[in-house]
């Protein structure tokens, strides 16, 4: 069984994002990690291969610095990796899809491709769907439960207030993972050491005939979210504070 897992190199969600210019941020100053949702896909890939044999190939589209993130994915059990190297900070989902497709096809089509449900940096929620359409295979996203039975995958996805859909598709296919699917493992020291020796095939994006500037979804401006300047603290006894709050919410803010 061959499994590809698409992993994005993203800033840690706890990291401070310092803006640089109109359309970028200081990426040399913040900690990067495996996109948290991709981690569920990675864990699932590794445990499926532990059970059934085969190999797990990480496919990443990103800057050179992504090799550090790829190493941590390898420490979790991936066998080898392909990095399609970009120069810029943001690549739109259609171009990312082209890059992933070219890299995956060059390597040989896998039985399953895992992704996360979305990435925590640009929050686009679409690359896996574009990849599925481009490869002509099915996709199910936001999967929190999975059973693989031969060439069939049966999955669950949460759709509302606790409501879940049971969905099936034939493999090869793409599965977008989310919380609930598994508990990603913490790599042990020997695994971290072993990961350093695993092969990473680096392919510049331009070698795949993709023009980094051709994106049709263009980031015009990146700005800090307006922050609240601190709460108006209510005073008095509990009853007084609550009475004030209700009055404000009704009369001033008109939200209740």
């Amino acid at each position: 069984m061959k499994i590809c897992v698409c992993i994005k190199h993203v800033p840690d969600t706890a990291a401070n994002i310092k803006l640089a210019g109109e359309q970028g941020f200081e990426d040399s100053e913040c900690k990067f990690v495996v996109n948290p949702y991709d981690e569920y896909g990675l864990e699932e890939s590794v445990s499926l291969v532990e059970k059934n044999g085969g190999e797990v190939v990480v496919v990443t589209v990103g800057k050179e610095a992504a090799t550090a993130t790829i190493r941590s994915a390898m420490a979790m059990g991936a066998h080898r990796a392909i990095l399609v190297k970009t120069e810029g900070q943001f690549l739109d989902s259609a171009l990312t899809c082209k890059a992933l497709k070219a890299a995956i096809e060059k390597d040989g089509t896998p039985d399953i491709i895992f992704t996360g449900k979305g990435s925590v940096d640009t929050e686009g929620f679409q690359t896996q769907y574009r990849l599925a359409a481009a490869l002509g295979i099915p996709v199910v996203n936001e999967v929190s439960k999975l059973t693989v039975d031969g060439s069939k995958a049966v999955m669950e996805r949460e759709t509302g207030s606790g409501e879940r859909e049971v969905v099936e598709m034939t493999l090869p296919g793409i599965i977008g993972a989310t919380k609930g699917l598994n508990e990603p493992r913490y790599p042990k020291f020997p695994d971290i050491m072993k990961a350093k020796k695993k092969p990473i095939d680096v392919i510049p994006l331009s070698d795949l005939g993709i023009d980094e500037g051709a994106g049709k979804s263009v980031l015009v401006k990146l700005e800090a979210t307006p922050e609240r300047s601190g709460a108006k603290m209510l005073e008095g006894s509990v009853t007084e504070q609550v009475a004030q709050l209700v009055k404000i919410l009704k009369e001033e803010e008109k939200v209740i």
Binding site: T13, N16, I17, L19, F25, S93, A94, G118, V120, D121, T122, E123, F125, Q126, Q128, Y129, A133, P138, V139, V140, N141, E142, R157, E158, T159, G160, S161, G162, R164, E165, V166, V167, E168, G173, G215, K216, S217, V218, L219, V220, K221, L222, A224, T225, R228, G230, A231, M233, L234, V238, T239, Q241, V242, L245, V246, I248, L249, E253, V255, I256
Partner: protein
Amino acid sequence: MAKTGVLIELGDGKVKETNFGVLTAARGASGDNEVCAFVMNADAEAIKSELSAYGASKIVNITSSGDLGASPDLQAASLAAAAKEYGLDALLGLFSATGRDIFARVAAIMDEPMISDCISVDIDGKTGVKSHFSGKTFATIKLDCGIMLATVRPNAIEPAEASVDAEVISFSPSVENNSTVKIIEVKKGGTEKLDLTEAPVIVTGGRAIKASENYKMLEECAALLGAAVGASRAAVDAGYAPHSMQVGQTGKTVSPKLYIACGVSGAVQHFAGMKTSKIIVGINTDKDAPIFAKCDYGIVGDIFEVVPALTEALR
């Protein structure tokens, strides 16, 4: 004047409240866009007046010979066909579990760029504003497109009525569907509670709630506010609440007009999921809790005293 389509989401045959903000956005800055509302295999006559009250002049009921409900790919292909048939300049929907799934499929089929989870959209400018980096930044994205595809964060755009005359049309596209993706069962959540992402008001209990049965206290308060009840990850991890109630980066992203955080410290990952709420109220025993630096109104106090008092005051 642009021609804009909106995919309407129904719950038990009724139009979900969150659609009205999307219809409002679809009318555009000038308010004179022609708006087509799309529904799938629905009783379009029954919901006509509700949709036309928000400016939809065409209610298009998409029907199909195949089982639309069981095939997200058939829904997407049908919607893409409808977008072409009606010559749309833009197609909007909700960034809900269903909406984002269908729209991503539509974008892939049409090979058009798309903006997900917008907090505002400018149809003429083909731009949208959305969160990047878990709500820490806003990105303005411009599309170089044939049709503008965008999903809107539920409740992010304030609905405004603008009644028009409407006609109901039936559209049966002939689309090929050989997708193997099939919904074989829908498991109900057991409760008929309002989904967090759709709720206009949310009362959330954090780790301080201490036990699952204590959520009853929040539910009583929520019932008077027409609110849904949420939880922090710490509360979910401790087993006090199911993951479906979790707000935040690894839970739901919500944008209600009022968010009351009870015994929540205010971690960035929690804020990632509720930062775009209109008004945020924090209740916490610790006057230095980070939440007070990031919310609109704060009460320093014990939730087990403050919440019952609030419930009383609302009665």
